[in-house]
Symmetry: C2
Subunit: 195 residues, 2 copies
């Protein structure tokens, strides 16, 4: 079983990231130990600390993957040919769908900000879903001339996050989605889609 170094690295890193993800989701970051993670991944702590700076770094990489997956799901349903309004609606639905993958709300919305800090999480968000929302709102002409989009967009993003959290916590999914759609519609009301 001769394996190239790159293969070994890739295998080990992936095993650690997936094992860590499962444990972080199940017990939270604070209650998950590196011995646990290493054991679950089938390696020793030596391997973990060889590939990751520390426990937080491993957590960061788990979140990176998660954020990218969400962003990919959104982009998949919002091709350029859609009108801004349609793209916004479709993207919104895709976001909530994507956040239903088990553990995502906890990782990205609960433990993430606490462990990495709001600044770093914000940066991760901006690189993925938050920016597409801001762009969508801008192109749809939301709040034009009445309110600063840079201030409004994060508020709506927070509402989306909370919607995902609520559904995850057992709230009526249909009602929650409807409420979010209603809020978005109210935001867009009176905005003309193109200049």
């Amino acid at each position: 079983m001769a394996r190239t170094n790159r293969e070994r690295t890739e295998t080990t890193r992936l095993a650690l990231i997936e094992a860590a993800r499962a444990l972080f989701v199940g017990q939270g970051y604070g209650d998950t130990s590196t011995p646990e993670i290493a054991t679950a991944a089938g390696v020793t702590r030596g391997a973990l600390y060889h590939h990751f700076v520390d426990k937080r770094d491993l957590f960061r990489q788990v979140l990176q993957r998660e954020g990218e997956a969400v962003a990919a799901d959104i982009e998949a349903v919002t091709p350029d040919r859609l009108s801004p309004r349609e793209a916004l609606l479709e993207g919104s639905r895709a976001y909530l769908d994507a956040m239903m993958v088990p553990g995502r709300t906890r990782l990205l919305l609960i433990d993430g900000p606490a462990v990495l800090g709001t600044a770093e999480l914000q940066a991760l968000d901006d690189a993925t879903s938050a920016r597409t929302l801001r762009q969508g709102l801008e192109q749809a002409g939301a709040g034009r001339g009445e309110v600063a989009l840079d201030a409004l967009a994060p508020l709506l993003a927070a509402a989306f996050d909370r919607a995902a959290l609520a559904i995850d916590a057992g709230a009526d999914a249909a009602e929650t989605r409807a409420a979010m759609a209603w809020l978005l519609e109210r935001t867009l009301k009176g905005a003309n889609p193109d200049e």
Copy 2:
């Protein structure tokens, strides 16, 4: 200096809670140790574990106080004689003001959910600011007949939280407050204040 037991207890508990608050705010829950807290409070860990079940319990009590303070500030500016709409506007402003007390956003919005879990934090919120918002929206007739208020209210609450967080993080306070007010206004548009 003969002190009654009740006095001693009260003094020690308060010292621990205030010392813990300062450290939790400054370094976060995870990076704050009980030896640090005890030293800062001028007692030993023995006292801490005598008065609190564990570190989380101490954190919970810190948050309890914090939540009550926010709720008190809101109630102070929303006497019953105000119209539902006025009360909602005043309460909103008071909420954002209250959240500007240093450390509150971190305690209540970042570390709180991660350490105590969303369920417990939700309960604390419901007992304080979240319920007044829900009542305010209901009395103002928000979304009447179009959307479930139980689903809508949390989304707006989340937007408020995010507004506080953004301002705390250095965003333009006036713009952010204006955006929040705009969102609230849009939500209320078309709702007649009384049946």
